[in-house]
């Protein structure tokens, strides 16, 4: 029975209260462990299309008559347009339309960040559109930008109110401490740099209907935002995304380019593509914002943490949201006295967007590095310190639906024990060490999400749901779940996704929520079909478990239709993911160069659907984490605010040559409270502890406290120098 409930919905660590119609989830979970198909490695069902180049991405679309767009974006972080003349652009060959701030809400004459869109032109070819852009006469009055996050906080230039979260008595907790450690950590701006840039092709298929082909993580979010923006009934916006080339949190919304394409398509009555160039991608497509974290921990001499405190400044940019950088400090340890204040600084810099565990990647770097500084001061083993402060119950209230962090610590122990052997391999100039860090994050998903399934007389099944696979392997996981429940071979299941006109509502591919949101709906749909198959078997005098194709072979054109919905999350419980990573590093103390030599990862994300795809996701998260820790940084000129790293030459992504040995495993214990699957998401957990584990390994190797990302040679040499000076100076009492 459909049931109306008021519930909290979590996406990327942000909660909102929503009304939901949920259907009861009446299926029992499968017993723990690998099944025939679920829990066994499967290669991607769409790997061949992607590998051979047959898969058609938004970037590959060439609709008949399609025009191409170039967007004039502000080269200044803060300016006012004093003169704008589009006529010279319109006079050029091949140009069909040009629009400016008077024509479209998303275009502005008052840019407040570099990359803010001012005008756009469309033409027969991209080269013509770019030439036309250069012909636009646009002049600016350049204004002084606000770039310093601390200055923004002082001036009260904030996005939203400062967020204060307090429990217990922080001051008393500090007074009870035998040891107090204070440290300031800084993290940099990093860029998603999905290989397929942000882009959309918009085509009006009637006066009040549009097709939106878009590289997106959220088909239904695009449908709703475009229908709002264009004032169209929701289902008059059809959103299509069959393949997309990466998102990492940056492709959850329509952004400016979709509305630019829609407006130009309306004016020209042609399909219009608006695709960001790589340099636009690195300017105006979102970023993980920089943070400043001023942290304090107090502990008794036995290692019991008595107080945790932090002032967090998120350098959000011109718009966006102030992510939960304080989350790990609030959630990871059993500390009674915690006080955090988080500011979202509004700056003349490009807006942030969610980037793979927003806030928690940054906050875990600070907290888990602080923990090791405390361990060093107390002379307590860092792993032991974490066990001593293990939270049996959620410190902010409520029980965990499941938590296997102690099991993660247990499995990490042999890798942690390698540190004696690793350190022994140090030389005079190359020091080696081992560090660890814990991970906490959401990842439980939630309703609503739906799936349909149809089984034909050949015994083959098609799962139909309007979700998207952004490269995480969701399509494969859904095929596995359906095949398992139906009792048919994996090759006999196809998954139809990627089109809001051809399937029911499906969850966003973000927040490690896709598998835990979609998987239970797909299983429920398959179970609905399976029940009907068994009824037919009974009427045919066949065994209940007779092969599906034998049961249905009399159906001819008749089909068995199943439908399924995602049930509710357990009420009053925290559904979270956990994990531990152990890093081994080498540091050249003369040059400051750091190499990561090995990373061990163990994560607790409930039942694992596809161990092969899961291991790929862990590796990918760790490699992004290594880039975040050692090489990636979007730089801007501190005086003018102009961006300096807009190419893939200047912005240093990890390459295959930067990859260490990676050893990963999953606890693979179904969460007994969570849905008919017991599965959580794995997209984000693996990137969360990597930076802190590397920083802690560097401390283990050298005694130096690195407190700033990326750990460039300059930062490494600074930390080494500071460490030497500290040891040379007489101890302060």
């Amino acid at each position: 029975m459909a049931r109306l409930i008021r519930t909290e919905k979590e996406v990327e660590g942000r909660y909102e209260e929503v009304w939901l119609v949920v259907e009861e989830d009446s299926l029992d979970q499968w017993p723990a462990g690998a099944r025939d198909i679920v829990g066994r490695p499967a290669t991607r069902v769409d790997a061949l299309e992607r590998a051979t180049g047959q898969a058609v991405y938004t970037a590959d679309l060439a609709l008949p008559g399609m025009l191409h767009t170039a967007v004039l974006r502000s080269p200044h972080p803060r300016a006012r347009v004093t003169h704008l003349d589009l006529a010279p652009a319109l006079a050029l060959a091949g140009v069909h339309a040009a629009i400016g701030p008077d024509d479209l809400e998303q275009l502005t004459a008052e840019p407040n960040y570099q990359g803010a869109p001012i005008a756009a032109v469309c033409a027969d070819s991209l080269a013509q559109a770019r030439a036309a852009l250069r012909a636009i006469d646009c002049r600016f009055d350049v204004l002084e930008p606000l770039l310093d996050p601390d200055e923004a906080v002082r001036r009260g230039e904030l996005l939203g109110e400062a967020r204060v979260r307090e429990r217990g008595d922080y001051e008393r907790g500090l007074a009870e401490a035998d040891v107090v450690v204070e440290a300031e950590y800084r993290t940099q701006v990093v860029l998603h740099n999905s290989m397929e840039t942000h882009q959309a092709v918009v085509e009006w298929t009637g006066d009040d209907r549009v097709d939106v082909h878009i590289s997106t993580q959220y088909i239904w979010g695009i449908r709703d935002a475009v229908s709002d923006g264009l004032g169209l009934p929701k289902d008059n916006v059809r959103v299509i995304c069959h393949y997309m080339g990466g998102g990492f949190g940056s492709k959850n919304g329509p952004d400016d380019y979709t509305f630019i394409a829609a407006e130009l398509a309306k004016r020209t009555r042609r399909p219009v593509k608006c695709a960001l160039t790589r340099r636009e991608e690195n300017t105006a497509a979102g970023n993980r914002n920089a943070t400043i974290q001023r942290l304090t921990v107090g502990a008794r001499s036995d290692g019991t943490i008595t107080a945790l405190g932090g002032e967090f400044v998120n350098a959000v940019g011109w718009s966006g949201w102030s992510s939960g950088t304080e989350g790990p400090m609030q959630m990871l340890y059993a500390c009674a006295n915690v006080k955090t204040t988080t500011y979202g600084a509004k700056l003349n810099l490009p807006p942030m967007k969610a980037f793979r565990a927003p806030g928690f990647v940054e906050g875990t770097f600070g907290l888990e590095a602080l923990l090791d500084e405390l361990a060093a001061k107390l002379d307590v083993d860092p792993l032991e310190l974490r066990r001593r402060n293990y939270a049996e119950h959620a410190p902010e209230g409520g029980d965990y639906s499941a938590k296997n962090l102690l099991e993660c610590y247990r499995r990490a122990e042999p890798h942690w024990e390698r540190r004696h052997e690793v350190r022994a391999r140090s030389t005079d100039t190359v020091k080696r060490g081992v560090g660890m860090a814990s991970q906490i994050w959401y990842g439980g998903g939630g309703p609503p999400s739906y799936a349909w399934i149809r089984v034909g007389s050949d015994g083959r099944a098609q799962v139909v749901t309007a979700m998207q696979d952004i490269g995480t392997g969701t399509k494969t996981a859904m095929a596995q779940i359906a095949a398992e429940e139906l009792g048919v071979p994996l090759e006999h299941v196809t998954v139809s996704l990627g089109d809001s006109a051809r399937g029911p509502y499906a969850a966003i591919s973000a927040g490690s929520s896709t598998t835990p949101s979609m998987g239970p709906a797909v299983r429920a749909a398959a179970a609905d079909a399976r029940r009907q198959i068994e009824e037919i078997a009974e009427q045919r005098g066949l065994a209940k478990d007779a092969p599906v194709h034998e049961v249905v072979d009399v159906l001819e054109d008749a089909q068995i239709l199943g439908k399924g919905a995602r049930g509710p999350n357990p009420t009053g419980m925290q559904v979270l993911t956990f994990g531990v990573q152990v890093a081994e590093v080498a540091v050249d103390v003369e040059t400051g160069e750091v190499w990561v030599e090995r990373i061990y990862a163990v994560h607790d994300v409930g039942r694992v659907i596809n161990p092969l795809g899961a291991s790929s996701q862990i590796e990918g998260g760790i490699i992004q984490g290594i880039g975040h820790t050692l090489s990636e940084e979007r730089l801007h000129d501190p005086r003018t605010g102009r961006l300096l790293t807009t190419t893939l030459d200047a912005y240093r992504l990890p390459t295959i040559a930067d990859v260490p040995e990676i050893v990963s495993e999953l606890v693979d214990e179904p969460d007994p409270q969570l849905t008919n699957l017991g599965s959580k998401g794995l997209g984000e957990p693996p990137i969360i502890p990597t930076a802190a584990a590397i920083a802690n390994a560097i401390r283990d190797a050298t005694g130096a406290d690195v407190r700033q990302l990326p750990i460039t040679r300059e930062e490494m040499l600074r930390a080494l120098r500071e460490s030497r000076e500290r040891h040379a100076a007489p101890a302060r009492v």
């Binding site: 992607r50 047959q54 290989m195 397929e196 092969l612 590796e619 893939l648």
Partner: protein
């Protein structure tokens, strides 16, 4: 101009300044060759010109008029494809055709490359999803 791609001879009408990647994608609809940066930094557009890996986004089409071009579409039967699939050496797949073309160029001259040789030959092909460990494995075990 005449353009030889995957052993087919095409007549291509390309303006001076057209890149090979643009000609392949826009004129011949061979969209397996991806453009991810359009300035020679990422390797997604890699094709073979007379067997050598080339960045087609910064190669002018008129400069390869007398050469033999091989794109991912011409490598469909190559065992490297199956190796990438088998090893899960791709995630979103956008960089994958370029990865495979670079890998083919390597193993056609060096069928049993060492880890260092693989890393050297593939370091110009960026993968933001981080499929690198499995790409390395796919190239190492391509004949299995």
């Amino acid at each position: 101009m005449k353009l030889n791609v995957n052993d087919h001879q095409y007549d291509v009408h390309a303006a001076v300044g057209t890149t090979l990647a643009e000609a392949l994608r826009d004129e011949l609809a061979l969209t397996g060759t991806k453009i991810a940066c359009a300035e020679g930094h990422c390797g997604a557009c890699t094709v073979l010109v007379d067997g050598e890996p080339v960045l087609s986004c910064i190669t002018l089409v008129h400069s390869v008029e007398n050469a033999s071009v091989t794109t991912i579409e011409g490598l469909r039967e190559h065992r490297m494809i199956d190796s990438f699939v088998r090893n899960d050496a791709l995630q979103c797949g956008f960089c994958t055709p370029g990865q495979i073309v670079s890998a083919v160029a390597l193993v056609e001259t060096n069928p049993a490359p060492s880890t260092e040789e693989i890393r050297h030959a593939m370091a110009g092909n960026l993968c933001r999803c981080g499929a690198y460990p499995k790409i390395e494995e796919a190239v190492r075990t391509w004949r299995d």
